[in-house]
């Protein structure tokens, strides 16, 4: 005789019985004929009664027939089909059987028509209870079906594992070969000495900054090219890039050049845009992408104040 397989941790019973109380006599005989080592759920046993006593019956039934047993033997009969509670058990068992074929072991006690077992092999209720118990015992002891890879040779398994490992290790870098960096400017701040652009590179490759400038829009200051204080290479991740200039040129307004104090008074009304030319990949050195970030002029006040001349010629040609 095959040894009884050990119950998986999450199961409490080898088999659960679902039957109508009208068929209890037959089922009790089957139950009695089962070897003691087979744990089975039968709601009429004292043990089951003690367990479910005072609890929500519906929830308990759903729990047992859904989660607690490896198999469910359903004893179909006229009474079974008519009873409210057995219908609930039947519904739960059918749902589990869809995910786990072979879960429901049907036994037909009379000539009731049961559509859901039309395509299943069922056992006739004329079978003596002892014989049915043996059949149930056999079903429980039958080794579970093994997946197809169980039958592969060790060499094939090793090769397959190696291929899988190689795919995991090299697939991403291989895909990344064809992906560029992907940069964006997330924030722009300033001190007296430098503009700091927070640049995010979401791509797998380094990006290169190939040009950067401040555009002042309606503020009367000429647009200016900025110089990088550090490296122009932006590795993947988030980086603060410092940019400097040593001169900001006021523009003429109303026929004359504005000085620093006059320009400062306009800060709250305007915005300034940082433009950065980014080469997203070294594979195409000629191609660059323009990234911009517009911030209130007041954010860059310290920098602009430092590099706009305080004294402007009164008679500059405008």
């Amino acid at each position: 005789m095959t040894t009884l397989p050990r119950l998986p941790k999450r199961f409490r019973y080898h088999v659960a019985f679902s039957y109508s109380s009208a068929d209890a006599g037959y089922v009790e005989r089957v139950s009695a004929a089962l070897p003691e080592e087979i744990k089975h759920f039968d709601y009429r046993t004292d043990e089951s009664k003690a367990e479910t006593w005072g609890r929500d019956l519906e929830k308990q039934l759903v729990h047992v027939y859904k989660n607690a047993a490896l198999f469910c033997v359903v004893f179909f009969s006229k009474d079974y089909v008519a009873n409210k509670w057995t219908q609930l058990e039947r519904k739960v068992a059918s749902r589990v059987a869809k995910r786990k074929p072979g879960y429901v072991l049907p036994v037909l006690l009379d000539d009731t028509e049961v559509p859901e077992i039309a395509n299943l092999v069922w056992i006739d209720g004329n079978v003596p209870p002892e014989e049915l118990a043996e059949l149930i015992d056999g079903a429980i002891r039958r080794p579970p079906p093994r997946p197809w890879w169980f039958y592969l040779s060790l060499e094939v398994k090793v090769v397959a594992a190696a291929v899988l490992l190689a795919l995991i290790l090299f697939a991403r870098p291989a895909v990344n070969l064809f992906r560029h960096s992907e940069t964006s400017i997330t924030d722009v701040t300033a001190t007296e000495q430098a503009i700091t652009a927070r640049i995010k590179n979401r791509g797998p490759k380094n990006a290169t900054l190939v040009g950067q400038r401040l555009k002042f829009g309606a503020l009367p200051i000429e647009d200016v090219e900025l110089h990088l204080a550090e490296s122009a290479t932006i590795a993947p991740g988030q980086h603060d890039v410092k940019m400097t200039a040593v001169h900001l040129e006021p523009k003429c307004r109303d026929g004359r050049l504005l000085n620093r104090a006059e320009i400062e008074a306009l800060f709250d009304q305007y915005t300034i845009t940082l433009e950065v030319d980014v080469r997203e990949s070294d594979d195409a050195p000629g191609q660059k992408t323009l990234r911009t970030k517009t911030v209130p002029a007041a954010n860059l006040k310290m920098f602009v104040r430092k590099w706009v001349p305080a004294r402007a010629p009164l008679f500059a040609p405008c």
Partner: protein, 257 residues
């Protein structure tokens, strides 16, 4: 081969020099080099920035070695090397033409070079009006022919307080000085009384209102008022009416030194 190398090195030097001149910076530090035989004699050197020719706006330079001078204009005095222009006043004996500075982007210093000094007469003028009226002056300064590089034509200006004041370091050989009577704010594009050909070295020139109208008419006729020569009677009437409205009786122009 050697010739080509020399040519290439000369070209490289020119490129370097050009790039140094083209650097534009905002700075408050100025470094001045004065060339010429007399540069060692200079005791007091003043910097005039952007043509603001008012003595209390002059900046006294500090000696930084032989013929070298420096100044710190302070945070509130920072200038642009692209737009700003400068001239010097030396003690009481000379002035220079106007120059733009070369920006030294590494040291953040505006670098200037002037030649000292033109051998042409220098005059300090005193102007007085009765009744006291607002008077301004505009100086149209030409580059000195002896200057090698960097000189520009420029406009300097000043305001005389309460009807009297001085115009220092005039050098008529290299500048035109226009007196603008009745203007509180100097207007470089408007004509004025050209002082260059009416100032007398010995004594004081006193001009009545009619005398002023006459001098202005003569200068207009000679094309010295920044306009083509004209004998417009309308312009004479306008001058006469304007001076009457200002209640100007007379103007005195005296050479102090």
């Amino acid at each position: 081969m050697l010739r080509y190398l020399r040519l290439a090195s000369a070209f490289f030097c020119v490129l370097l020099a050009a790039s140094a001149v083209q650097a534009q910076i905002t700075t408050s530090r100025v470094s001045v080099l004065v060339t010429g035989k007399r540069c060692g004699e200079l005791k007091k050197v003043f910097l005039v920035v952007n043509g603001e020719d008012v003595e209390d706006r002059w900046i006294r330079l500090e000696s930084a070695g032989t013929c070298r001078w420096t100044a710190d204009l302070g945070e509130e005095g920072s200038i642009s090397t692209k737009q700003s222009y400068f001239s010097l006043r030396f003690d009481d004996f000379a002035r220079t033409d106007c120059h733009r500075a070369a920006g030294n982007a590494e040291k953040l210093v505006a670098e200037l070079e002037f030649a000292c000094c033109a051998d042409t007469p220098l005059r300090n003028l005193r102007v007085k009006t009765e009744l006291p009226i607002p008077v301004t002056y505009v100086r149209d300064v030409r580059p000195s022919p002896t200057t090698r590089v960097g000189a520009i034509r420029c406009t300097e200006y000043g305001v005389l307080g309460a009807g009297s004041g001085a115009i220092a370091h005039t050098q008529f050989a290299s500048e035109d000085v226009f007196l603008q009577l009745g203007n509180a704010v100097p207007q470089p594009k408007l004509p004025g009384l050209l002082l260059d050909d009416i100032v007398v070295d010995d004594g004081k020139l006193v001009l009545t209102r009619d005398g002023l109208v006459y001098r202005l008419a003569v200068q207009r006729a000679q094309g010295k008022s920044r306009t083509p020569p004209t004998l417009s009677s309308n312009a004479i009437s306008v001058d006469s009416k304007k001076l009457s409205a200002l209640k100007l009786e007379r103007a005195e122009i005296e050479v102090l030194k």
